[in-house]
């Protein structure tokens, strides 16, 4: 059942992105950046957490969860340190994603040859 909801919700988020590309002629880069902002916005209203509870990886795998994690880390650290904490905690939860993207991206670029 978890897999079904992950498929349905994750796929639906991608369809929204595809419609933005086809109808409003946005580039994929514009779609992903607006999705990150959207994820942070939804988390600001506390909506995104419910979506994760409901859809699991269907909500954590799309890039919207990146914005949600950024805001989540910032708010958690703001609890302890006030306004300064927002800047301290912003990359706390996304650290795994960003550092592994840097590491693996760098290594793959070193090892493989560019195609085409």
């Amino acid at each position: 059942m978890d897999y079904l909801w992950a498929f349905l919700v994750g796929g639906a988020i991608c369809v929204v992105g595809q419609l933005l590309i086809d109808i409003f002629k946005l580039t994929p880069a514009h779609v992903t950046t607006s999705f990150v902002v959207l994820g942070a916005l939804l988390d600001a209203f506390g909506i995104y957490d419910n979506l994760i509870k409901f859809a699991g990886a269907g909500a954590t795998v799309p890039i919207t969860s990146f914005g949600h994690n950024l805001l989540h880390g910032a708010m958690a650290s703001a609890e302890d340190h006030g306004f300064i904490g927002i800047a301290m905690g912003i990359f706390e939860l996304t650290s795994a994603g960003i550092s592994s993207a840097i590491l693996f991206g760098f290594l793959v670029a070193l090892i493989f040859k560019p195609k085409g």
């Binding site: 978890d2 897999y3 992950a6 498929f7 349905l8 919700v9 994750g10 796929g11 988020i13 991608c14 369809v15 992105g17 595809q18 419609l19 086809d22 109808i23 994929p28 880069a29 779609v31 992903t32 950046t33 990150v36 902002v37 942070a40 916005l41 988390d43 600001a44 699991g56 990886a57 269907g58 954590t60 795998v61 799309p62 890039i63 919207t64 969860s65 990146f66 950024l70 805001l71 910032a74 708010m75 703001a78 306004f83 927002i86 990359f91 996304t94 795994a96 994603g97 960003i98 592994s100 993207a101 693996f104 991206g105 760098f106 793959v108 670029a109 493989f112 040859k113 560019p114 195609k115």
Partner: protein, 151 residues
């Protein structure tokens, strides 16, 4: 004669000549590819929760890292571009698209050297995501914190 007006007029003129994208087929492909990537993510999450003592909230981190590793390797051997051509937004919106953007930008500039080519261009495409994410999270965080302290 302003340049912008000319551009708009030109865009209007050629509009009937441009082929319409097959909306339904594109959406179906995006749904399938995006949904399948999320199903793989769900399986990874379950795997980390059963064998590595992660809970539902923390399991997202190793899952994202694993998906990024897979996507970086697939980009390296040239498979992810094919998935991208088929799936459109279905391959760009999940976190794997982020990894693909980083790896492909680095690969493309490999000939310029390790420092000036790979390292400098690593965030050429994906940097926008981090910039907008951090700026918006900062602003929303400020607003939410201000509300919380005032209430």
């Amino acid at each position: 004669m302003s340049n912008k007006e000319q551009q708009q007029e030109y865009a209007k003129k050629i509009k009937p000549l441009q082929p319409k994208p097959p909306y339904f087929i594109n959406c179906l492909k995006a749904y399938l590819v995006g949904g399948l990537i999320c199903v793989i993510g769900e399986a990874l999450m379950k795997f980390y929760m059963t064998y590595f003592n992660f809970n539902e909230e923390t399991a997202g981190n190793p899952t994202a890292a694993t998906l990024i590793l897979i996507a970086a390797l697939l980009t390296g051997i040239g498979v992810y571009d094919k998935i991208g051509q088929f799936g459109g937004a279905g391959s760009a919106v999940p976190v794997t698209g982020f990894a693909n953007a980083i790896t492909s930008a680095a690969l493309e500039h490999k000939s310029e050297g390790i420092v000036l080519g790979i390292a400098t261009n690593l965030f050429k495409l994906a940097g926008a995501v981090i910039v907008f994410g951090a700026v918006s999270a900062y602003i929303f965080g400020m607003i939410r914190y201000a509300f919380k302290t005032l209430m």
